[in-house]
């Protein structure tokens, strides 16, 4: 079982898994939000390939019944193809949404660097709750006093 032959199916599986791992690597390692989005696209593409590969048959044809079709012809599994169709459209919707969010973040914070975005995000949350940002060295009492005086 574990002796892996070099067949076209194995290569395809290898490629699909590698694609999704590259995507995951990018999502975890990169700092530019737009690049992270592109990594997400890669990750989804890899997962979709993996899914559609699960229905492949050796010598199979597309599952469409045509007129001159002989009886013994092998068809690929139609279910994964339908699932992937669904998954791709879902992916498109989410990517568009992420793009719109990136636009808004850029407009609010003027940066695409995830570290800076996170820093500003935490600061904004802390300010709205009138406490010092977690991990900052400013004394919490001082900050709350000053905001209290402002009111």
């Amino acid at each position: 079982m574990m002796s892996i032959e070099v067949t076209i199916e194995n290569i395809l599986y290898f490629g699909a898994i590698s694609l999704s791992l590259i995507g995951l690597f990018g999502m975890m390692m990169l700092q530019n939000v737009f690049r992270i989005l592109l990594s997400l696209v890669l990750l989804e593409a890899g997962a979709n390939l993996l899914l559609v590969l699960s229905g492949v048959r050796i010598g199979g044809v597309a599952p469409i019944i045509t007129e001159g079709m002989s009886a013994g012809v092998v068809m690929n599994d139609p279910v994964p193809q339908a699932l992937v169709l669904t998954a791709i459209v879902i992916g498109v919707g989410i990517q568009a949404l992420a793009l719109a969010l990136i636009f808004r973040v850029k407009r609010n914070y003027g940066t695409l660097d995830l570290r800076k975005i996170r820093e500003k995000l935490e600061k904004d949350i802390a300010v709205s709750n009138e406490v010092s940002a977690p991990g900052s060295y400013q004394a919490p009492e001082k900050l709350t006093e000053s905001t209290g005086a402002n009111q």
Partner: protein, 489 residues
């Protein structure tokens, strides 16, 4: 019976039509959502007795398994449907300031939640999970807070990576078994318990765990709750996280009652409890404290799930319902408690009712005797003690230790709230929603108090329902053994 599908069709219809109707009459479109939710509530109540002791299945489009999508209706799914409708009505954005499309998003949220508790098909669950995810990104991103889009973006990245893991897990399961129907999968359970099947399940848990605030994938929690309005936080922490657990529950109970998986859930749960309570202890404002406490509480749910079978489900559902009431109520109450702990000085002296409600919630959260939280924690500890694995003994220690930490930070807050504060009485800034939310919080507290004498009958009822839901043979028989299917196999 087939009319159960209206639970999904009607909210979706309302979601599509709300923006169109709004062009003609704003009032009608604003009423559309609540009317549909109220209808669902009535409908579920009518169905309750129809289900009776026997659960039933709905075959969508009349296609029998394994080819079609199947819905499985039992008392649990009905109970969760009713809770979803009620909770959404509580947090419904009545105010005129909300954009009309936001109401569409709430309806989509409703449809996907009903789908998640009813569906018995893996890929269908994935689709509804994604719909739930997209609707929540939208709601989080459109909060007026300046940081909201950034929080939503980080949430989206974590959650999408999780969803892809879920998809890969489903793909692996389909590859080894050739079916997606959970009942059909339960008949070929042997195939799933190999290395591939178990890793697929782990991928599914990681994927769904993002929304369930599971230990390693919950970095979004404080950011999202920090930027969202309190009623949205109540919805996310109270309801949406539970729905992700329900997804895991279905797959776990029917397919993967294996020691490795249960141990893994236990470890994840313990780490969640510990990390959540530790960070909550250091928090300096109510929202942050509640977010991390919610991570810890969901860790407890995972600990309960690691007990196999009826007991696990019973405890997990009990914990979830309790947490839904208490944390939902606390988040709604937090709308009247803005700012850091210091600015809350003497708040309970100024408004004693608020203080009393807060005390009721935290007593129940901690598990102080007559409150319902006590009985659930007691049952959890007793049942953990009956296991002879070392891990479970550690879990008991962790649960008790976590309660101590929890008590320490909650009572710290109580002390601040009851402190004398003569020098400067600052009235807490009222948001437009805090009055309404305070009312709902009072209502939630009332439920907690009223349920106290009925803890024993409620828990018996829950146990009955768990027995019904855990029964895999009944599940398989209801879905798989249809007259027409006899010839195939």
């Amino acid at each position: 019976m087939n009319k159960m599908i209206l639970l999904i069709a009607l909210p979706l219809l309302a979601a599509f039509l709300i923006p169109v109707v709004a062009k003609f009459s704003a009032t009608v479109s604003r009423l559309l959502g609540p009317v549909v939710l109220a209808f669902v509530l009535v409908f579920v109540a009518l169905q309750w007795n129809v289900v009776g002791r026997d659960s039933f299945a709905i075959f969508l489009g009349g296609f029998l398994p394994p080819v079609g999508i199947v819905f499985y209706v039992d008392h649990f799914s009905l109970m969760f449907s009713a809770i979803i409708a009620a909770m959404l009505l509580v947090v419904w954005p009545w105010g005129q300031y909300t954009a009309i499309r936001q109401q569409s998003l709430y309806m989509l949220l409703a449809a996907s939640s009903f789908g998640l508790v009813l569906s018995s098909d893996l890929f269908n669950l994935y689709v509804f999970y994604e719909l739930l995810a997209v609707a929540t990104y939208g709601l989080v991103a459109n909060q007026p807070h300046k940081a909201a889009p950034a929080a939503a973006l980080r949430y989206l990245f974590v959650s999408c990576a999780g969803s892809v893991m879920l998809l890969i897990g489903i793909g692996i399961i389909y590859t080894i078994t050739g079916t997606l129907n959970i009942a059909h999968l339960a008949t070929m359970i042997g195939k799933l318990h190999g290395l591939a099947g178990l890793s697929a399940f782990i991928l599914i848990v990681v994927g769904a765990g993002v929304k369930a605030e599971m230990f390693p994938v919950n970095s979004w929690v404080p950011e999202v709750y920090g930027t969202s309005s309190k009623s949205l936080s109540a919805l996310l922490a109270g309801l949406i996280s539970k729905l992700a657990v329900v997804l895991i529950l279905r797959v776990l109970l029917m397919l993967f009652q294996v020691d490795v998986v249960l141990d893994l859930l236990l470890v994840v749960g313990i780490l969640g409890v510990l990390s959540g309570e530790m960070v909550a202890w250091r928090a300096k404002d109510v929202t942050r404290m509640l977010s991390f406490s919610s991570i810890a509480q969901l860790g407890l749910v995972f600990v309960a799930l690691s007990l196999s079978g009826t007991i696990g489900l019973w405890l997990a559902v009990g914990l979830m319902l309790h947490h839904l009431l208490v944390k939902g109520g606390l988040f709604l109450l937090a709308d009247s408690m803005p700012g850091s702990f210091n600015s809350l000085k003497g708040l309970a002296r100024r408004s004693p009712i608020l203080g009393a409600i807060f005390l009721i919630f935290i007593f129940s959260l901690l598990g102080i005797p007559p409150f319902p939280g006590f009985w659930i924690k007691l049952m959890l500890v007793i049942n953990l003690a009956q296991q002879d694995d070392v891990l479970y003994q550690i879990a008991i220690g962790v649960v008790l230790f976590a309660t101590v930490i929890e008590a320490s930070y909650l009572f710290k807050l109580v002390r601040i709230m009851y402190q004398k504060n003569d020098e400067n009485i600052i009235k807490p800034p009222q948001t437009s929603t805090s009055g309404m939310n305070l009312l709902y919080a009072k209502f939630f507290a009332l439920i907690v108090v009223v349920s106290m004498p009925f803890v024993s009958p409620i828990s018996d009822r829950l146990k009955d329902m768990s027995r019904q839901s855990v029964n895999a043979e009944n599940y398989i028989e209801t879905i798989m053994s249809q007259p027409k299917l006899g010839g195939q196999s």
